[in-house]
Symmetry: C2
Subunit: 236 residues, 2 copies
DNA sequence: CCAGAAGGATCGTCCGTCGTACCTTTGCCG
DNA sequence: CGGCAAAGGTACGACGGACGATCCTTCTGG
């Protein structure tokens, strides 16, 4: 009875993702989220393997996979290298129904976003705010959904960067990947997107005033919006 | 220049903890945090291996390690089993100086605690509050530090449980383990502990009123307290 | 035109994980 | 009292992932 939930997590499956999978995931996600931009050149294999702390063999397996899936492109010879393709494949359409555990993802997102926004309110500078604002502007015209989505991810990552907390940046990357997968399951009418962007705007305003309280409640509502849409409800 | 911090995290080392290590960590942490209480019996090896999704061989390696480190005790024969030892070894004293990245741990903690407290404000029931309150009471007399510390961990885990978010519970467990390691580096005068517990009390009060705003700011200050102590400062 | 910088390919080795089968201890129950 | 059942303890073989080392191939810049 007592401490039931916490004890249960102790005995949950301990998954052991292989280095290869981890690497594919890391690079693939970075590309799909637009963190690595089209045309960008990755460090040479030998060097990158060193940075990632893995062997070149394993890194090459990952790269080969990403080449075959159309995310990367390899060019041989001097001056060659590994490049992000010009038009990376979008996240593939929804595979199957909405997963059972989607609320868990949203709950985790609440934590990451709130943590980021509070720390950002304390630490952000003008550059950070400008960075966020530029993404807000990109989202003013919710024309192509893919473009909107990438700007959205960019915005939230910018908040995380403003928090100056590396582990939050990393967590935000993971969460945004999961959210992106969830979001692929549902429609997004322009009016919803435009409303969401209004919230982005107010959030930036709160951060500018270093008003953590307002920032938190704006962010909470913002995330709640996604939750309601996924639940098939309308806020209010 | 642009998006520097986020891109950097992409190329950071991809650590591949082995299943064995993960398991030792999972169980060892649960014991040290008091999540698995002394005398408690673990499920039979065959069953536990199944729950954890690992082979019995690997699980046994982990158990053997924990037996040798004095956390577990195995008893053969019918009615036997694997038990948590009566007096598990405390977290060993500080090994070396305070790690460089201690602020990153605190930053992550901010996120986990704030997320937990916000969701708890929305979802907690009387049982949850009672659960928290019991830990607060255990901390009223900051006599033995180890006892205080365990109650403290229990309190924060209780908040996470009240959030009804499994992944936050898991994250809280990890964070508390790291915090416990950091805290072993510094002294804690009784007055500081008693002040911290006052904050716990106010936090519960805010949750009872479902006042998320207050709960957030209390929690933020509470975590800040730890940060200041680690930094060798006094708040205020 | 060639040296050097990149990706491409192919080994053998090592080690962690798994599965399976079997042994040993010990308490309970008929 | 004797055997069955439930637990931990042991052993071993198969498999696969990760690694490191070596060499090849391609191409460009000087």
């Amino acid at each position: 009875m007592e401490r039931r939930a916490a004890v249960a997590t102790v005995f949950e499956p301990v998954q052991a993702p292989t280095t290869f999978e981890e690497t594919v995931d890391r690079l693939g996600t970075a590309i799909r989220l637009g963190l690595l931009v089209p045309g960008q050149r990755l460090p040479p294999e030998r060097e990158l393997a060193d940075q990632l702390g893995i062997s070149r063999s394993t890194l090459r397996q990952a790269i080969t996979t990403l080449v075959q899936s159309g995310h990367l492109q390899s060019i041989r010879g001097r001056g060659g290298g590994t490049f992000v393709v010009e038009r990376p494949p979008l996240a593939e359409g929804p595979s199957g129904p909405l997963p059972e555990d989607w609320r868990e993802v949203i709950d985790l997102r609440v934590a990451v976003e709130l943590g980021a926004v509070v720390l950002a309110a304390e630490r952000c500078d003008e550059d950070d705010l400008a960075h966020m604002a530029s993404f807000v502007e990109q989202m003013t015209d919710p024309g192509v959904f893919a473009a909107y989505r990438r700007a959205d991810v960019g915005f939230h990552l910018a908040v995380a960067e403003a928090s100056r907390a590396p582990r939050l940046i990393s967590a935000m990357t993971d969460v945004q990947r999961e959210i992106t997968e969830l979001i692929a399951h549902i429609a997004h009418p322009p009016q919803v997107l435009s409303h969401a962007n209004t919230e982005h705007e107010r959030l930036v305003e709160a951060l500018r005033r270093r008003d953590a309280g307002r920032a938190v409640s704006h962010m909470r509502r913002h995330v709640e919006g996604t939750e309601h849409i996924l639940a098939g409800l309308r806020p209010g």
